[in-house]
Amino acid sequence: MTVVYKKSEGLTDLQLHYCPGCTHGIIHKLVAEVMVELGVLGDAIGVAPVGCSVLAYNYLNCDMHEAAHGRAPAVATGVKRVRPENVVFTYQGDGDLASIGTAEVVHAAHRGEKITTIFVNNAIYGMTGGQMAPTTLIGQKATTAPYGRDEAHCGKPLKISEMIATIDGAKFVERVSVHNPANIRKAKKAIKKAFECQLKGEGFALVEVLSTCPTNWGKTPIDALKWLEENMIPYYPLKNFRNFGEVK
């Protein structure tokens, strides 16, 4: 009887408040499992800013900071500069990182902060009820884009990983998805490498994880996974943008 899978001790025993089928839960598990497998759960200090995943500070079984909207990379910088031997990470949504917090993530990368950022991109504002995010796709409807995002009105969606990968201090940048088990396994590898980037003191690491929002996309959890695969992946290609080498 070998255990193939059981709940990670990197998670607390609280039930997650996320909507049924929301893939935040999967990403929480991956972060928790990676911290346990790397043996750093006891050294980890996470930063959860405003967004659906702010309550990650209750779900991840390590020291956590709740941060103001968009400011997690700055808070994490403060933590890491005081505790360089600890493992510091941020867990941020797209409304947080790609909108109000763009300066903070760009400058954390620019300074080569030795922190790890998990960037969950579900192309919408979840917590506040489905407003358009900078990552909302062209034509995708949202409560503040009732006719669908129109490039002429507010531009094309922001490609964060491509942008961050141009910054030298960002030593590991990869975009992954969690829409099926195979991709979840790949996502976990990338998240592990992003934490290892910090452990080796290389510099800033960011993993962009494409994620679903069944409730605000107005889809069933299963259809949401299909929508992600058919619409998000073509615009947000899953690939590694920086793997410790030089900026391409």
């Binding site: 070998t2 193939v4 059981k6 996320y18 893939t23 839960g25 099926n180 069944p214 959890p221």
Partner: protein, 71 residues
């Protein structure tokens, strides 16, 4: 003979059905006869013998409802 044993913590299942599409053997379904503490039909195995213990269902579950062991 089943290669895997799967346990569902039924009370915390949200009936999201992700495990159902993740299972290569297509042997998971929502239990229409039951309603759990959250008011959802919890997922369960419909054909335990066909389980190959791959763990896809547990990997896919956002809420850590499922534990899988290989026999």
């Amino acid at each position: 003979m089943a290669k895997g044993k799967v346990k569902f913590n039924e009370d915390i299942c949200k009936g999201c059905e992700l495990c159902i599409i993740a299972c290569p053997q297509k042997i998971i379904a929502l239990d229409e006869e039951k309603i759990n503490a959250k008011g959802f039909h919890p997922a369960h195995l419909v054909n335990e013998d066909a389980c190959i213990g791959c763990g896809n269902c547990a990997i896919m579950c956002p809420d850590s409802v499922i534990e899988v062991e290989r026999i």
